[in-house]
C-alpha cells in the first residue's frame, strides 16, 4: 500500500490535536492554544472560536458536537462553536490530550494521570482504561495519551514506552496489543517511546517522533505502509493524526504548524 502527500494546510498558529468530522464534509478540526479552528477540505479556515482554557485535543461526535479536551475540563460545543456544556474535574481531567467515543460513552485521555477516563454522555465517570497494571498507567514519557476507537468499540491506545498499541475493552480489560521495539526494521517502533499518536479507521495509523514517521498497520499488527517519513520537521513530536471516511490521512507537523494530508495511491 502506498500513499502520496496531496496537501499542506497552514494551521494559522500552534496546533495540538486534530480530528475530522464523520459526516463526509471533509472538515478538519484543530485544537490550538486557546481556540478551536475548523478548516474546510480545501484547507481554508472557515470557523474558529475560543476555549476557556488551553485546548489540547478535539473530537467530533456523531451528532456533530465538538468536544475540546483542555486543562482540567472538557468543553462541548455545537458545530458553530456555541458552548453547550462543560465537564470540569481537576482530578480526572487534568490534561485531556485525546477524546473519543465508544457506544454511549465518552473517552478522555488524561496525560497527567496516564489513563483514559470513560464517562457516560452526561459526564458521569464510569471507569479508567489503561491504569490497571503494575506501572499504574500508560507509559508516556512523551507526555501525551492518545487513542482511537474501532467500529466494534474497542479502544486502541498508544503505549509508547512499551512500543505498543494496546487494545482495551471499554470496561478497561486489556485484550492484546500490536507493536514491538525495533530501531532498524520499519515494522517496529524505534526510540524510547513510540508510537506517540494513533488513529483508527480501516487500519491502525500511527505517528512516531525522532525521526517523524507515519505508518499504517492491519489489526493483526502487520505493517501495511510507511506513509511518510521525511516531510516533517525533524524536531516534531506528538504529531496528532486523523483519518477521514475516504481514507485520507491528516498529520500535524508540530514545528511548522501545518497539517499534511496523504491519500492512498490506487494499486
Amino acid at each position: 500500500m502506498q500513499y502520496r502527500h496531496v496537501q499542506t494546510i497552514d494551521g494559522k498558529g500552534a496546533l495540538h490535536g486534530i480530528a475530522v468530522d464523520g459526516h463526509g464534509r471533509g472538515e478538519i478540526y484543530a485544537a490550538c492554544v486557546a481556540e478551536i479552528k475548523v478548516f474546510d477540505a480545501a484547507g481554508k479556515l472557515v470557523r474558529r472560536w475560543p476555549t476557556s482554557r488551553p485546548a489540547q485535543s478535539v473530537a467530533v461526535a456523531g451528532d456533530g458536537a465538538v468536544y475540546a479536551g483542555e486543562l482540567g475540563q472538557i468543553e462541548i460545543f455545537d458545530g458553530a462553536g456555541k458552548l453547550r456544556d462543560t465537564w470540569r474535574d481537576d482530578k480526572l481531567l487534568r490534561r485531556v490530550t485525546a477524546i473519543g467515543f465508544t457506544g454511549d460513552s465518552v473517552l478522555a485521555g488524561d496525560s497527567a494521570d496516564r489513563a483514559i477516563r470513560r464517562f457516560d454522555r452526561r459526564g458521569r465517570f464510569l471507569n479508567d482504561i489503561g491504569k490497571d497494571n503494575p506501572l499504574g498507567g500508560l507509559l508516556i514519557p512523551n507526555g501525551v495519551v492518545d487513542f482511537g476507537v474501532d467500529g466494534q468499540g474497542i479502544v486502541h491506545a498508544a503505549n509508547p514506552g512499551k512500543h505498543r498499541v494496546e487494545r482495551y475493552a471499554p470496561g478497561g480489560e486489556l485484550l492484546g496489543h500490536i507493536g514491538r521495539f525495533d530501531g532498524i526494521d520499519p515494522a517496529g517502533f524505534t526510540g524510547c517511546c513510540n508510537p506517540t499518536n494513533v488513529a483508527i479507521r480501516d487500519a491502525i495509523y500511527t505517528t512516531e517522533k525522532a525521526g517523524p514517521r507515519v505508518k499504517a498497520y492491519d489489526f493483526g499488527g502487520k505493517l501495511l505502509a510507511v506513509i511518510a517519513t521525511d516531510l516533517f520537521d525533524a524536531n516534531c513530536k506528538n504529531m496528532s493524526i486523523a483519518v477521514d471516511s475516504r481514507g485520507r490521512v491528516y498529520v500535524v507537523d508540530t514545528v511548522k504548524q501545518t497539517i499534511l494530508v496523504f491519500e492512498r495511491v490506487s494499486a
Binding site: N133, P134, L135, L139, P141, G161, K162, H163, R164, R180, F181, D182, G183, I184, D185, G188, T190, G191, C192, C193, K209, A210, G211, A234, N235, C236, K237
Partner: protein, 205 residues
C-alpha cells in the same frame, strides 16, 4: 599639577586610571576565584550535544579531548526528575543495533559502559517493558564524551542528561582549555551558586 593641565598630564592621568582599573579588576577576579565564587560551567543551551534543534549530527567530544584534567572534569549528569525511566533508553542502548532475544537493542551506546540500568519499583520479571528503569552514570568511568547527551535530548529523549563540570575534578584554570576549543562558546564562568543550579535546555535564539 598646574591649574591648566597639559595634554601630557591628561594622558598620564588616564593611563594611571586604566592601569589601576585593570589591576583592580584582575585582583577582584583572583579574590573571587580564591573564594571559589567564579567557576567554569557548561551552558547546556549552547552545547551542541544538548542544544535543541541540532539533530543528526555526531556528538561533540571536545570536553573529553581538550580538558587538562585526566579523563576530563566534565561528566554526563542525569537529572532524575526529568528522566522518563524508559525501558528502551536511547542514551543507554544503541537503538540502531539489532534487536536481541529480549526485544531490546543488542548493543549499548556508551563506549566506556558508564551507565548502569536497573528496574525500579514493582518489577515484572515476565515482561521487561512492564517496568520502570533507573539509569545511573558511573562518574569514575564517564569521560564526558557527550554521546548519551546527544541521544537523550528532545525529541528522541527528554533531555535529562547534560554535560556538567564537576568541581571536585575541575582545577578552575584561568582560561579553561575546553572553552578555548569549544566552537559554541558553551563554557562559561559563573558565580558558583549560579553554576550549580540545574539548567533547562532551550532552543537557541
Amino acid at each position: 599639577m598646574s591649574e591648566n593641565p597639559t595634554r601630557r598630564d591628561i594622558f598620564a592621568t588616564v593611563a594611571r586610571g586604566t592601569v589601576l582599573a585593570v589591576l583592580g579588576g584582575g585582583a577582584g577576579f583572583l579574590v573571587k576565584k580564591a573564594n571559589g565564587q567564579v567557576v567554569w560551567q557548561v551552558d547546556v543551551s549552547r552545547c551542541v550535544n544538548s542544544r535543541l534543534g541540532d539533530l543528526g549530527v555526531e556528538a561533540c567530544n571536545l570536553c573529553t579531548t581538550e580538558c587538562v584534567v585526566a579523563l576530563s572534569a566534565v561528566r554526563a549528569v542525569n537529572e532524575y526528575s526529568k528522566c522518563g525511566r524508559c525501558n528502551i533508553c536511547p542514551a543507554y542502548f544503541n537503538i540502531a543495533s539489532a534487536v536481541n532475544e529480549l526485544g531490546q537493542p543488542s548493543e549499548k551506546l556508551c563506549p566506556r559502559d558508564a551507565i548502569a540500568r536497573r528496574p525500579i519499583g514493582k518489577v515484572d520479571p515476565e515482561d521487561p517493558a512492564n517496568n520502570f528503569y533507573e539509569y545511573v552514570i558511573d562518574e569514575e568511568k564517564c569521560d564526558g564524551c557527550g554521546k548519551c547527551v546527544m541521544k537523550c535530548k528532545e525529541p528522541l529523549g527528554l533531555g535529562s542528561i547534560t554535560l556538567r563540570v564537576r568541581y571536585d575534578r575541575c582545577v578552575n584554570c584561568n582560561r579553561c582549555s575546553i572553552s578555548k576549543a569549544c566552537p559554541q562558546d558553551a563554557l562559561k564562568q559563573l558565580p558558583i551558586g549560579q553554576a550549580l543550579q540545574p539548567v533547562g535546555v532551550k532552543r537557541p535564539g
